[in-house]
Symmetry: C2
Subunit: 150 residues, 2 copies
């Protein structure tokens, strides 16, 4: 019989409070998952930023695609902030992610709401709409990073 | 004036052959991007595998969601295999990714095709359909890893 990692057991016990916890075999996987999702999302978000800020020509199709990816990815990273995953791999997550988890969740939800508006704005094909939605979304990223990322 | 990184210049020159190349500011970003996308995709794919192989109870809704994520993510990693990104960060990519790029692209496309079928199978809500589609998809992952990953 294969030993069940302690992390998986702890996660299973916590699964009621945080349903995604049991989905990672070990803390390292949860950390790599959230970092991967955030990095990929950041890359697509920065392409929208380049258009919104005039550093790249506006391409309505690319904007809509990137914003849709940001929206899809906006749901993912949070499941990786499993209790106990403040260690297990290199991470810049502040302890406040877990000690002030309500605030962290609220910040994540704020961003997810902005991502919905950003995707809707990008779909209109208007650069002005993209610009108007990009700022508040970027601000919601920054607010979370300022409080919960080292 | 900010200096344009050599990588970005090289990428721009190669942009006709590989349109996504110019989307990464530096080699490290391209590597982290493809690794992040592959890791997140792998996590969702493994959840389907757990259901297909009886290690987790079948949950039709979760299966459809995970397969949809795999499908969305299946399009992403390849843009990160920019020419020149065999270095710049730790990577297990074999030189063959670039020296036998046609074969690599064909392997990536084979997998993307299987991901389409997998998502369609998962949407039927039938575990048997999921099982039937999971095997060929996993085989397409393995074929690419065997030839192009250290």
């Amino acid at each position: 019989m294969k030993a069940v990692p302690v992390f998986a057991l702890a996660s299973a016990l916590l699964a009621t409070a945080f349903p995604a916890a049991a989905q990672f075999a070990k803390s390292e996987d949860a950390i790599k998952y959230r970092q991967g999702a955030l990095f990929v999302m950041g890359q697509h978000f920065s392409r929208l930023g380049a258009m919104a800020n005039g550093r790249a020509p506006f391409d309505a199709k690319a904007a809509a695609e990137n914003a849709d990816l940001v929206l899809t990815l906006s749901h993912l990273p949070w499941a990786g902030f499993v209790p106990g995953s403040d260690k297990g791999a290199s991470t810049r997550a502040e302890p406040a992610v877990w000690t002030e988890n309500d605030k962290f969740k609220a910040a994540a939800e704020k961003f997810q709401g902005e991502a919905v508006k950003l995707a809707a704005a990008a779909k209109t094909g208007s650069l002005d709409n993209l610009k108007a939605a990009f700022g508040p979304t970027a601000a919601s990223c920054k607010a979370c990073h300022d409080n919960f990322r080292k």
